[in-house]
Structure formats: structure tokens, C-alpha cells
Amino acid sequence: MNFPAIGAIYRFEMARTWRTLLQSIVSPVISTSLYFIVFGGAIGSRMTDIGGVSYGAFIVPGLIMLSLLTQSMANASFGIYFPRFIGTIYEILSAPISAIEIVIGYVGAAATKSIILGIIILATASLFVPVRIDHPLWMALFLLLTAATFSLFGFIIGIWADNFEKLQMIPLLIITPLTFLGGSFYSIDMLPPFWQRVALFNPVVYLISGFRWSFYGKADVRVGVSLGMTLVFLALCVTAVVWIFKTGYRLKK
């Protein structure tokens, strides 16, 4: 293992985070606060509790997931796309580092950033609503796995994209709808039966369900299933990354 190289990439990426602190941390905090004011305060006050949890508190895990997914993807995809775009990738490619080390550096930094963000959102949320965490270790596990998985997914997009539109297309066109339809703001069993079954094809449902279970002990699907699906998606992303580096796809001519 080339640890100095992993460290160099990781620090470089984190330095980028601190440079763009406002954009990376402050704006998600503001948008989350707005969600709580609108959904938690204005609308939530007219909603009945879901499974004994107030609506405002109910949406906290979903909101954290929403940020976790979009931020992990945005950070990781930009992190690898940008050096490709400006050409500084030459140095990464010519360095004595393996694919796995490159991935640990970039994906690790992106995941770190979105986990920090998730924690900040959690802290912000607890200012607005009473948040309870029944299974803190499971919560940490889901936080970690989701951040890693979607940072990896973002990394793949950052390699696949050959322009800025494509870079933003997948998050915008696929992830945001999947997250909204994945039960961030409602429980799946509030849907008509047909749509409940459709929802089970949405991978985000499993993430949010498992994550919410770690908070309130209530879930749409069994927590083991949630964990399993998360691991399956993680494995898919790892396989794709391995293939990319094996073939040099879009990295080497």
C-alpha cells in the first residue's frame, strides 16, 4: 500500500472542501433548515404522527439520506472529473499507485465530507424537532455504508462523464427522484398497494428504511434486508470501479 499517496489525495480533496466551506457545508444546512420549517413546522403540524413519531422527527433520517446521497455523489464525481477536465489527471496516472489507492483517496474524502455534513444536518434537525436514536451503531453503519457506496457511484459518474451536463444529469434525473420517491417524507405503507410493490424496486427505499429504523425502530422493510441491499449496491459499484481501472476506461487512451 502506498499510504503517502492515499494521504496526499485525501488531504488534497479535503483542502478543496475547506476552501469551498460555504458552498459545501453552509448551503446544505440552510436548505435542510428550510425543509424543517416547511415540512416539519408548517405542514408537519397538520400531519398525524407516523408510527408514534411526530412528522417532523419522522423526516429527519430521510432528509439526512437525501443530503448524504446527493453530496456524496456530487463530491466524488467532481473530485475525479475535474482533474480529467483540466488535465492534472496525468500526475495521478503516472504515479506508482494502484486503482484501489486512488479510490480510497478520492472516495474516502468524498465520504468523509458527506458524513460530516450528515452529522451537521442531524445537529441542525435536533434544534427543530425531538430526534431520538435507538440504535446508534446501526445508524453509524448505515451512514458509513451509504456515504461510501454513493461516493463510489459518484466516482464512477465522474469517470464516465465527458462534459458538465452529464456530470449533473444522473444525480438530477435519477437520484433526486428516487430519493423523493424513496420514502424520505412518508412511509411506504402510506402508498396504494400497487405503488408499494413498485417502490420495492427503488434501492433508496432500503437505505432510508434501514436508516430510519436505526432512529426510531420502525421500518418499511426488515433492517437485514436494508443492509443486504446496501451491500449489494456497494458490491456493484466496486465491481464497476475494478472494471474501469482494469480496462483503463476513459482514463487511459
Binding site: 494521504g7 496526499a8 489525495i9 503516472s94 483503463g248
Partner: protein, 320 residues
């Protein structure tokens, strides 16, 4: 100045980079390199000359791991660049042709980053030495985007040297830089060579190769046309031309000048004399006397080194 320690136990074979039967066909189907065989000697400065599109950058990019070869192998200090890429790449530093740097990082941070990337432990003393050598020490805390183009090029050199490579590739290091920076680069390159670093550079400028190189390779249309000691090649390619603009046009070259290799321009107003500038006797003096004796008045004289382009044409012609 620069300090490189030979790796323990390394058998110092004469060639430090060994390219065998290397070919590259890009995805577009274009064959950029055709069966290149080349050995770079330990400690030499090797200049790779060739017109635009000859395949210089492709060759360097393959050796450095940026482009995949289609066929053939490359050994760097005895390590296969694919199978044993870690060992091979840690020996190599690259300054690519394009100026590509980060913008927001400082000079110091970017050089330290490069060192780490190549697996070396932090060594502020070495980074300081490198930055001083490329005259960037005063700007170490400046963000790269605030630097001039010439300074950015120095930054790229500093990055390439940060991990103490024993082989340095410089892809057109002086293309588009001013005279002063060019001299500076040359000084840096020589100083590096004096510490035992092997340097492979590509260039358009024959005088650069003349100034620096121990050996010269010429690449054209993806093929290595020749590899020769500089002194040998300079002798062969040392032709210069003297152009004389005449007061009155001539119909033909007077018989009194038949002994000289002269060419008359179509309008009869210019005489061109080719000579070997490296020889003791260029023949210019006698030629001018002969002209005077023949009663030919000269209005203007001009000398010109044959351009690299012309030399390439000669080489390619001689080849076919």
C-alpha cells in the same frame, strides 16, 4: 544541488530505459507509433526530435503510464512498466507538454502533494531545494493561478522532481517560453544530469538538442528514424546556407564559380551557397573573392541554419 542515491542492489546496467517493439494504435484507428526500439543510457541527456504529430508525446506517455501500449514492452531501470508499475513509475518524473496545474493550491502544497503521490515521505528540505533550484522559493506560498506561464512551467518541473526521480521526461520544456527561461531550464537540466539523473527531452529546436543532448533520436510518423551521438549528427546536419542578393540578375552561374556548390534562384537575383559550419574551412572567404573577381556585385548577405523541418525532410527522403 539535486541529490539522488542509487538504489541499493540495483545492477547498474547500461540502459536505464529499454523500449522494445513498441506500437500504439489509438482507438480512432490511427497508428501513432510503429515498432519502436530504443535504449536510453544511464545518466545521459537524450533529445527526441521530430515534427508535430510524430509520436513523441505518445511515446513518453506510454513510458510514464498515461497511455496504454498496443504492443511491445518498456523497462524502466529493469522494471516492466506494466507488470511492475510501482517500481518503474517511482523512478520516473514527468513534465508533460501541456501546462496543466491546479489553480488554488500553493506552490509548496502542490510540490508536497506530488512527493506524497509518488510514495515518498514528506521531506521539506528536499522540496525547498527543488523550489530554490527552479527559482520558485520566493513564490512558495503563492497560489498557482497567480503565477505567470513561465513560472507555472517551473512549478511543473518542481512537481516532477519532488520525489527525486532517477529518470526525468521533459516534453517540449521550452516550447513558447522566453529566452531567459529557456537558458534557466538548460541550466537546471545540466545540473540534474550532473547528479546522475537521466533526462529524456523532446524538442522542436535543433539548437536546444545541440546545446544539451548527448544523443539524439529522430522520430517521424511514428517511426524512430535514427539514433545517434550528438557530435556525429551535428556534423552530418551541420549545413548552413549563405544567401547572396545580387545587384544585377544573372542568367547563369559564371564558370569561374563552378567549384562552389551554388544555386541560382529562378529570377537570377539570389545565389545560395551551402557549407558545413563545423568544418575548419567554410569556403566563404574564397567565394566572396571569386565573386568580386567575376565582377558580380553583392547587395546583401544572409546566413541561415537549415531548419529542423528541412533536416527532417532530408532524413525522410534519404530513408525512402
Amino acid at each position: 544541488m539535486f541529490h539522488t542515491i542509487p538504489p541499493p542492489g540495483a545492477v547498474a546496467s547500461a540502459s536505464i530505459v529499454s523500449v522494445s517493439n513498441l506500437s500504439k494504435t489509438y482507438a480512432s484507428g490511427f497508428k501513432a507509433l510503429n515498432c519502436i526500439n530504443l535504449d536510453i543510457r544511464r545518466g545521459e541527456i537524450f533529445a527526441l526530435l521530430g515534427p508535430n504529430g510524430a509520436g513523441k508525446t505518445t511515446l513518453i506517455s506510454i513510458i510514464c503510464g498515461i497511455v496504454n501500449a498496443s504492443e511491445g514492452t518498456v523497462l524502466a531501470d529493469g522494471h516492466d512498466i506494466v507488470r511492475d508499475y510501482r517500481a518503474a513509475r517511482s523512478k520516473i518524473g514527468l513534465v508533460p507538454q501541456e501546462l496543466t496545474t491546479d489553480a488554488f493550491e500553493t506552490v509548496w502544497a502542490t510540490a508536497s502533494f506530488s512527493r506524497g503521490l509518488f510514495g515518498r515521505r514528506a521531506n521539506p528540505a528536499h522540496i525547498e531545494r527543488v523550489l530554490r533550484d527552479v527559482s520558485l522559493w520566493d513564490r512558495r506560498d503563492s497560489k498557482i493561478m497567480t503565477l505567470s506561464g513561465g513560472m507555472k512551467r517551473r512549478v511543473m518541473i518542481a512537481k516532477a522532481l519532488a520525489h527525486e526521480p532517477m529518470i526525468l521526461f521533459l516534453d517540449e520544456p521550452t516550447a513558447g517560453v522566453d529566452v531567459e527561461l529557456r537558458r534557466d531550464m538548460w541550466r537546471v537540466v545540466r545540473a540534474l544530469r550532473d547528479t546522475g539523473v537521466t533526462i529524456i527531452l523532446t524538442t522542436h529546436y535543433i539548437d536546444e538538442a545541440e546545446e544539451l543532448a548527448d544523443r539524439i533520436g529522430v522520430i517521424d510518423k511514428g517511426e524512430l528514424v535514427l539514433v545517434e551521438e550528438k557530435t556525429e549528427l551535428m556534423h552530418k546536419l551541420g549545413n548552413k546556407q549563405l544567401t547572396l542578393t545580387l545587384q544585377d540578375p544573372l542568367d547563369c552561374i559564371p564558370s569561374g564559380l563552378a567549384g562552389y556548390e551554388l544555386e541560382l534562384s529562378p529570377g537570377g537575383r539570389q545565389l545560395t551557397y551551402s557549407y558545413d559550419k563545423t568544418s575548419e574551412e567554410t569556403g566563404i572567404g574564397p567565394l566572396l573573392q571569386a565573386l568580386q573577381a567575376a565582377g558580380i556585385a553583392v547587395k546583401d548577405v544572409q546566413t541561415k541554419t537549415r531548419s529542423l523541418e528541412e533536416i527532417f525532410i532530408d532524413i525522410v527522403r534519404a530513408r525512402s
